[in-house]
Symmetry: C2
């Protein structure tokens, strides 16, 4: 899914939150004007079949709501390649661990729908001004299922040894982000298989931002002979390079500025590769050097001025297997990826912009850059 | 899959047998006349799409080849409900455990194709004599993929902790047959998800004979929102009641006669239920009594006259969860199922019909009866 939660944790099981999830979603349904909303599968299948028989094409963008510019860029890309776009909005319980707070995940139905309606207007405008080849597609359907629709059998388990019906992709799922979140990619693969079966899209769209997710979904589509094409869309970034993320709203100005180190560290490593380096030591050394420089700078500042963070990992990995690389094969390239944990602010100043949660929410930032094969 | 192997066991890993599998299949491909054979997915998808756009319907019958009357009855049923029938012939490595001999599984391509061609003639004949409503469908496509097509990623593992891309349905997969074959239903669910994705059928057909498989496939289709209907077809039986099975050819006359006890034991239990009994003790007591009676009869015969067997299990279970039942709820019914292990013949007589393998192959026979809800 195009967004994952971090930082906020409290005890809650996925199963016990299902009811709250379904209730919250059904209360807040508002019918939009330029697309249909489907809460169950049969009617959606009927629409899909009609489109197929009319030789129309469907691009599918799965989300957990809380839509931001990154999601919209996926939809714009889908509009270039398909006549119809299906967007799903579903907060999937099985990708949350038992210690992660599913119930506090933001539900922003009305603003999500408003953004999608706005985007449909923009797509019509683009077509009117730039011609039908540039933006022919429109959002046709929102699939916003209840958890009873998505998990009709047993309540799904969030424990790694728990029972249920799952898609497992190993060992990919246990690397990188999967190291600290053992059920996460099982949940992602499982819900995506369900969503793909419900929507049977010609193409599915995922953001490069969640690189491990892109590798796992491509593997799943290949291994399970899923009849769809996987499109990966470049990470949407702020002007200075910070990757867009739903979590950025928790940063505030001070942590926002220091958090850019995530991108700068990766960029330093990518520059090393571009300049001809191929060894892990040289490439990751550049990233760690940049991160360490900023950590040292911050440590000497006062608690009301600084923003401390920890590097969770910086990885240099094979693009297909995500195995760590000692040497990059320049004909194949690699994936640089990282996770930083931005600590809560120690002291805040009067009127300081501390972001949602007043700077007290730890924020895990992830980002990645692809090392393209060199000619 | 509509057939599973038993009895013959020797050491072989699924992965090491893949090459042999693919080679054997490609050597023996003979092009039939009344349907197309597909060895890869893209062309099959193209045909499927054309059929969809012409509003034709596809019934899918997955098999591991070695076709017998049971498979043909599935296809006849598919012909009543669909215009086109896809049959897959693929011996799936991931449902064989590391100690089960995948490489010795029978490959009978030419005779399988001949049977399917014969059946297409019969279906045309049926329509000509009985009208289009009774047998309008024809076998249109055989999907006979290589293992490279079915498992394009890592070589699939046959170890329970092994790596790969799998569909897991728990706890259903570990009950009954899954107790002694821990990877079996993971392999079945995984290959069926792939086959369903490759063929996207309107309906899929499975035999009641493999009852646990039917329960798991129904659960998989429900839980993963697979857009197909699951049809379960009554077990094809010989006149005296013995369930048809590819393994029956290993029995020979003597073990064939005694092997009927499998069916008779279940029938005794079903009769007890029909006469009003609902307790496990009463219902299964009838089955065990019948089996024990025959065991005692056989034990007093000489080694050249008798056929010994062991009861692996006799189960009385809930039809959805396969949990063992102490009491049958008459409004819900239950599933009676059993596995017997027919020992090799101890001594044979001159000119005795001992079946394939001269009576030396241990044969595991399974069967089941559904206890229907009582009015």
């Amino acid at each position: 899914m195009s967004r994952s939660i971090g930082g906020m944790r409290s005890f809650s099981t996925a199963a016990s939150s299902l009811l709250a999830d379904a209730t919250a979603a059904s209360q807040s349904i508002r019918q939009p004007s330029s697309f249909q909303v489907f809460r169950d599968v049969p009617q959606l299948r009927q629409l899909r079949r009609q489109l197929l028989q009319k030789d129309r094409t469907v691009g599918f963008v799965p989300t957990m709501g809380a839509l931001h510019e990154g999601h919209l860029s996926l939809i714009r890309e889908a509009a270039r390649e398909n006549t119809d776009i299906f967007v799903s909005i579903y907060v999937n319980p099985t990708q949350f661990g038992v210690t992660e707070d599913l119930s506090s995940y933001p539900r922003t139905w009305d603003s999500d729908v408003a953004k999608l309606e706005e985007l449909n207007k923009e797509l019509a405008q683009t077509e009117a001004t730039a011609g039908p080849e540039t933006g022919k597609g429109r959002i046709t359907a929102i699939f916003a299922p209840t958890s009873k629709v998505m998990y009709p059998g047993l309540p799904p388990s969030s424990e790694i040894e728990g029972h249920g019906s799952f898609v497992t992709i190993t060992p990919l799922s246990s690397k990188l982000e999967g190291g600290s979140r053992p059920v996460f990619f099982r949940g992602v693969a499982t819900v995506c298989m369900k969503l793909f079966n419900a929507t049977t899209p010609d193409r599915v769209y995922f953001g490069q931002k969640d690189v491990q997710q892109t590798v796992i979904i491509k593997r799943m589509v290949q291994d399970f002979l899923v009849g769809t094409e996987v499109r990966i869309v470049d990470t949407a970034r702020e002007e200075d390079g910070l990757a867009m993320s739903s979590r950025n709203v928790y940063l505030g100005a001070r942590r926002r500025a220091v958090g850019l180190t995530v991108y700068r560290s990766l960029k330093a490593a990518a520059d090393a590769y571009q300049s001809g380096k191929t060894s892990r030591a040289d490439i990751l050394g550049a990233a760690h050097g940049e991160a360490q420089r900023v950590i040292s700078e911050q440590q000497v500042l006062s608690p009301s001025e600084r923003s401390l963070f920890q590097v969770d990992y910086i990885s240099l990995a094979d693009p297909d297997t995500l195995d760590e690389l000692e040497i990059v094969n320049p004909t194949k390239g690699g994936v640089l990826s990282t996770a930083f944990k931005m600590a809560p602010l120690e002291e805040t100043k009067p009127n300081e912009d501390c972001g949602l949660g007043d700077g007290q929410v730890a924020v895990r930032l992830i980002d990645n850059l692809i090392l393209q094969p060199r000619a």
